[in-house]
């Protein structure tokens, strides 16, 4: 069983991954 805290951590990591990938790539793309 995964603990609720680990679940929250995993969900946060995935959300951050999506947001960081999008906005950092957008930053690189639109700066050119």
């Amino acid at each position: 069983m995964i603990s609720p805290k680990l679940k929250d951590l995993l969900a946060s990591a995935f959300i951050l991954l999506c947001i960081v990938c999008f906005f950092s790539a957008a930053w690189v793309l639109f700066r050119i």
Binding site: D8, I15, C21, L29
Partner: protein, 662 residues
């Protein structure tokens, strides 16, 4: 639009104020009628269901009578329509007046009851609505491609003809035209700005429908989050300032889902009737509405089977209202072209004015949009949809290149090597950067899948999106075709936000930050790309000058409107965006249609004879479609005809030429 040429700045602003004023009157009347007729307990639901039913039924009525009798009876028809909605069927005037007052009071109480985060989200939504409304107050430019090709151009031709006629030169004009009927009213009462405002209206209506759906969940805030997430999708904001139809489909699809939810909860047959009506309007807006109706029908049958309660009367009522609300469009096509879904399903139905080669080419064109169809492409599709257009082509002063893809799991190679075509493009290259969904739905909905105890409606939203996403992946992968299922998914995402905000601090702050940055990004991203539009709306740029700047063909069309006879008929080459040409015309390019048998034409004389057979007296030719955003062009015989003096040049500027046929 010629009105703008000599107008001073005050008259231009007054022109927009009048469009906005008429629009506010129409919306007020619609809300008044919705409240007057509202018989359910929820004022919000009554407003939305009423507005949908009123707008949809008026569009349908106008289409049927416009086709059968012409548009000259519109005023008496409107009065009759109004009387039908005011008449207190199976009730009394006193009851209706009480219902109206009660809804007005409930609405006021609803706004007063908002607390905390609901107020913040409400203010955010209001600001977005105001901002996009402002950006609607400019005439559609050359970038509003489909608006100028058919969403506005076809209604303009109907108005000029005084009835709804077949336009065999453009296959788009055989699509279901429910939204275009509202645009016709907009063009008739004011102009293209009012027409655009009808599409903009679908944005607040869709958001309020999400709020109403959220009210059915345990937490009222879920709906508000869903609405905020929906408007944080940049593509939604870009759509809301055009006269496209996709947000119309979103609104009516959400209403159909709302009715389905109500039926699932209450098992009352009247909700199946309403669900059928709104499924019908979806079918009347876009062919792809059939998938929404099919999915809802499937869910309905599945639920009846699960409950072991077969309600055949309910199924019958659902189908009856669905066919009543949409059947006209398909019957009309069957009569005019022998194909109810013209020009699709050609191998099944055939279709006048279309050939197997054209059907194959059209299908290939539809499939060019997208992200590739190899197994790895399929696996990465959700990621790529969320990250587009970062994995797309980059247009710069140095030409077209593959955009840099420095971040995992992007590779440095083009993503569609089998076609070499851009990914997720939004109709034309110039609109590539508008085709953005953003990462929020993916970020919130993937973790949502793993939550076990979620409301049935949220589960339904996830399953529905999966169904539509698979269909979309198999078919034409244009991002805006995903808008209706994405709006439903926003409900799941909204519930997820509310759920996460009650969890540990790290998840709470991550989700709050992700939603906040996405909500800020969408309007900030929209703003610089529409600076000129805002200046037109604020009266700093003359709309006429703006159109000359933003649509290279505008000047040629204005010249044609002012300098050629009223009964002139134009053959058009290389430019399908003909909304601003207020003359009879037909698209003469070979790939558009087969009204001219080009393989048989070998000389300039034969070409001129073929054009004259179509009653053409002028030719408008976009000679530089690659530069100006047009497409196609005339056959080589056109130059022969010009050299032989059979077509005399009367206008030339900006790559556009007009010839008078001798």
């Amino acid at each position: 639009m010629g009105d703008f040429q000599d107008a001073n700045i005050y008259s231009i602003i007054m022109f927009y104020l009048s469009a906005a004023g008429i629009f506010i009157l129409i919306v007020s009347l619609t809300v008044w009628l919705a409240w007057w007729n509202g018989r359910g307990p929820s004022s919000l639901q009554n407003t939305l269901l009423g507005a949908g039913a009123i707008l949809g039924s008026w569009a349908l009525l106008l289409a049927v009578t416009g086709y059968a009798l012409g548009l000259q009876y519109e005023l008496p028809l409107f009065l009759l329509f109004l009387l039908c909605w005011i008449w207190p069927w199976k009730s009394t005037f006193a009851d209706r007046w009480n219902a109206f007052q009660s809804h007005a009071k409930h609405t006021l109480r609803f706004f007063r009851s908002l607390r905390g985060v609901e107020i913040i989200l409400g203010i955010y939504l209001l600001l977005i609505f105001a901002f996009t409304f402002l950006l609607c107050l400019a005439p559609p430019s050359g970038s509003d491609y489909d608006s100028l090709v058919y969403h506005l151009a076809a209604p303009m031709q109907y108005l000029m003809a005084g009835k709804i006629i077949a336009l065999p030169y453009d296959h788009h004009s055989f699509f279901p035209f429910t939204m275009e009927m509202l645009y016709l009213c907009g063009l008739q009462l004011s102009g293209p700005v009012l027409a655009k405002l009808f599409h903009w209206l679908m944005l607040p209506l869709s958001c309020l429908t999400l709020v109403a759906m959220g009210n059915l969940l345990q937490s009222r805030r879920s709906g508000w989050w869903a609405a905020a997430i929906f408007v944080s999708l940049p593509l939604v904001l870009f759509e809301s300032i055009t006269a496209y139809i996709d947000l119309g489909l979103v609104f009516f699809a959400l209403l159909a889902f709302l009715c389905l939810f109500q039926w699932l909860e209450r098992n009352d047959i009247k909700w199946l009737g309403l669900c059928g009506v709104f499924c019908g309007f979806c079918l009347g807006i876009k062919y792809s509405g059939v998938f929404i109706a099919f999915w809802i029908g499937l869910w309905l049958l599945g639920t009846m089977a699960k409950r072991r309660q077969w309600r055949f009367a309910g199924i019958g009522i659902f189908l009856f209202w669905m066919i009543a609300a949409s059947g006209f469009w398909y019957a009309k096509n069957a009569v005019q072209t022998h194909n109810p879904v013209y020009p699709f399903a050609y191998s099944l139905f055939g279709g006048e004015g279309w050939t197997q080669e054209m059907a194959t080419a059209y299908e290939a064109d539809q499939h060019e949009y997208g992200y590739g169809r190899k197994p790895l492409d399929w696996a990465l599709l959700p990621w790529r949809v969320s990250m587009a257009p970062l994995n797309d082509l980059l247009v710069s002063n140095n030409g077209i290149a593959v955009a840099p893809q420095p971040f995992w799991p992007f590779s440095a190679t083009p993503l569609t090597p089998q076609t070499g075509i851009a990914n997720g493009r939004f109709e034309v290259m110039g609109l590539l950067t508008q085709s953005l969904f953003g990462p929020l739905l993916l970020a919130l909905c993937v973790p949502l899948i793993f939550i076990r105890r979620k409301p049935a409606m949220v589960g339904f939203a996830l399953w529905s999106f999966l169904f539509f996403f698979v269909l979309w992946g198999i078919g034409s992968q244009q991002l805006r075709y995903l808008l209706a299922p994405a709006a439903l998914l926003c409900l799941g995402a909204g519930w997820m936000v509310d759920f996460c905000l009650q969890r540990s601090a790290i998840l709470k702050w991550t989700v709050a930050g992700a939603v906040a940055i996405s909500c800020l990004f969408a309007p900030l991203y929209l703003m610089p790309q529409n600076r000129a539009v805002a200046q037109v709306a604020l009266g700093k740029i003359n709309p006429d000058a703006y159109l000359r700047m933003s649509f290279p063909g505008y000047d040629a069309m204005q010249w044609a409107n002012e300098n050629t006879p009223q009964d002139a008929v134009y053959a058009i080459y290389g430019e399908p965006r003909c909304f601003y040409l207020h003359k009879k015309y037909f698209l003469a390019d070979d790939p558009h249609n087969n009204i001219i048998d080009y393989p048989r034409i070998t000389t300039g004389e034969e070409l001129m004879a073929a054009l004259k057979q179509q009653h053409a007296s002028y030719v408008l030719w976009n000679t530089e479609p690659g530069r100006t955003g047009g497409v196609f062009g005339p056959p080589a015989q056109m130059q022969q005809a010009i050299d032989a003096g059979l077509a005399r040049e009367v206008y030339e500027a900006n790559g556009y030429k007009i010839y008078q046929l001798e």
